[in-house]
């Protein structure tokens, strides 16, 4: 216990703790939207496409997260464009952007001279090395998401539930869809440092699956998934620290265990 309290006096741990809170809120809200709307696969495409931006940023010596943001937003819009304007099947256009981003990332990381030190932390995340500027960006994202969802909660819910009906009632559905896909892109990228490109989808889906065991109401789902996400990230963080194993993977593993236990509990109750 003493050791646990002592942890909080460390600067790196305070930052990790804050990023866990920020990640839980943004992923709790955006993940609920993604899961309810069944666009997990789109989000996966955006996530992996962002690796292209990371690679190019490495090559040019820029901030990798900025490269990732540009690529994530571009691929989010690109997927929409391919699907709705070019007539390509949606799952195919997702796959195209998904693999194109990864391919570009690999090429640029390869031709970048020297060793690219943080590459692994972008792929698999490392919550213990989050920087101040990244923390500020996560904070800003949380403010944007919370504001957007409190102002437009009903419209977002109605569009997600029945897009055609919303359109017929005169809601500018396309505009909301674009804004939300951009928010998804930003959420994915800014949480990459917590669990990494490969694992971020889990933070957007497992807490929601767990919360869904207890409620089928959109708002309660948001609140509960945020709590489960926080529980998972914090326990994962502590376990990874004391057992000295990678934090991203530990967080995911913890989330799955929590889901599994509660699923069994629901089954026998």
């Amino acid at each position: 216990m003493q050791e646990l309290l002592e942890l909080f006096t460390y600067d790196f741990f305070q930052k990790a703790f804050l990023s866990a809170i920020f990640a839980s809120i943004s992923c709790g809200i955006i993940g609920t939207y993604i899961v309810s709307r069944r666009i997990v696969f789109i989000s996966g495409g955006i996530t992996h496409a962002s690796f292209g931006g990371i690679g190019i940023a490495f090559f040019l010596g820029l901030n990798p997260l900025l490269g990732a943001i540009v690529f994530a937003v571009l691929s989010a819009l690109g997927i929409q464009l391919f699907t709705h304007k070019a007539g390509i099947r949606e799952d195919s256009s997702i796959a195209i952007w998904w693999s194109l981003g990864m391919a570009l990332g690999i090429i640029f990381v390869f031709i970048t001279p020297g060793y690219t030190p943080n590459l692994m932390s972008y792929l698999f995340g490392n919550i213990l090395t989050v920087t101040n500027s990244e923390l500020w960006m996560m904070f800003a994202l949380n403010v944007v998401i919370l504001t957007f969802f409190s102002l437009f909660y009903r419209k977002v819910l109605y569009i997600a539930f029945d897009e055609e009906f919303a359109k017929a009632s005169g809601i500018p559905v396309a505009l909301y869809n674009y804004l939300l896909i951009i928010l998804i892109a930003l959420t994915v990228v800014l949480n990459i440092r917590v669990v990494g490109i490969i694992l971020i989808l889990s933070l957007l889906t497992i807490p929601q699956a767990t919360a869904n065991l207890f409620t089928k109401d959109f708002k309660k789902l948001i609140i509960l998934s945020t709590l489960f996400a926080f529980l998972g990230t914090i326990s994962g963080l502590l376990i990874s620290y004391f057992a000295n194993i990678p934090s991203g993977a530990t967080i995911i593993f913890t989330l799955v265990i929590v889901f599994g236990l509660l699923r069994i509990y629901k089954y026998f109750r």
Partner: protein, 249 residues
């Protein structure tokens, strides 16, 4: 009298393939139109054009001032098979989603909630208010969607197969309800069950690439053939040769 909607020489298409060609129809406040026709004949497409979800590639839809001044002039009940049954939303929220008044202040919200409560009561489904949409039976779900269509006090009620997934008892109740609602609003009802709706609707629109408007609620097989409108024949009663009840001139 001026029609609420005047569909004038309208052609509708998806990807340039015409689904409906040169359709003409006038819809009035007191109308109760049964829309029938084969699958893929363009029934839903016609509804989408009225709702503004699909722009005609030819012709125009002329709306009366009564329609234009309303923000939500149409009450729409879409086909339930397109609804995601696992979506995390409660019955109460679904019903409220039918009302999208521009100003969302406290007073409007209160009125909206009261209206939703009133409709729940009227449909006899107050007990399921807080249930998730996926936990309902077919009949309950259709009632919920009817409430959603009605909460905005529409001028025209547009129903796309409200009789799917429901039992006979609910079907009868539903059509009785529509008959009462017809005093206040025009109704456009798409259905497969031509036999049952014929005793409730006032006129019939046969839709199969073209639209033939039949100014009576009785229609014979021969007439359907003449309209090029082959539909699944479900005979009700003991008159095997007529789809609907016979003309009684």
């Amino acid at each position: 009298m001026e029609p609420l909607i005047h569909i004038k020489d309208v052609t509708l298409a998806y990807d340039k393939e015409a689904i409906l060609e040169r359709v003409n129809l006038k819809i009035f406040q007191q109308d109760f139109i049964g829309v029938i026709g084969p699958n893929g004949g363009g029934k839903t497409t016609l509804l989408k054009a009225i709702l503004g979800l699909l722009k005609p590639i030819q012709g125009e839809l002329i709306f009366s001032d009564l329609i234009k001044k309303e923000k939500n002039p149409f009450g729409y009940l879409p086909q339930v098979r397109h609804i995601d049954k696992k979506f995390p939303i409660t019955v109460f929220d679904v019903i409220r989603s039918g009302n999208l008044s521009k100003k969302r202040n406290g007073a409007n919200k209160k009125v909206e909630k009261e209206k939703a409560e009133f409709l729940l009561e009227e449909m006899g489904i107050s007990a399921i208010k807080n249930q998730a949409i996926g936990e309902l039976s077919g009949g309950q779900m259709q009632r919920v969607f009817l409430c959603r269509a009605l909460i905005s006090d529409p001028k025209i009620l547009i129903l796309d197969e409200p009789d799917t997934f429901v039992d006979n008892r609910f079907e009868g109740e539903l059509y009785e309800k529509l008959r009462v609602l017809n005093d206040k609003m025009g109704i456009l009802l798409v259905s497969h069950d031509v036999g049952t709706i014929s005793s409730y609707v006032k006129t019939i629109a046969c839709v199969n690439k073209h639209l033939h408007y039949h100014l009576s609620n009785t229609i014979t097989n021969e007439q359907l053939e003449a309209y090029n409108c082959p539909i699944q024949i479900i005979s009700h009663g003991d008159v095997p040769h007529t789809v609907l009840k016979e003309h009684s001139h």
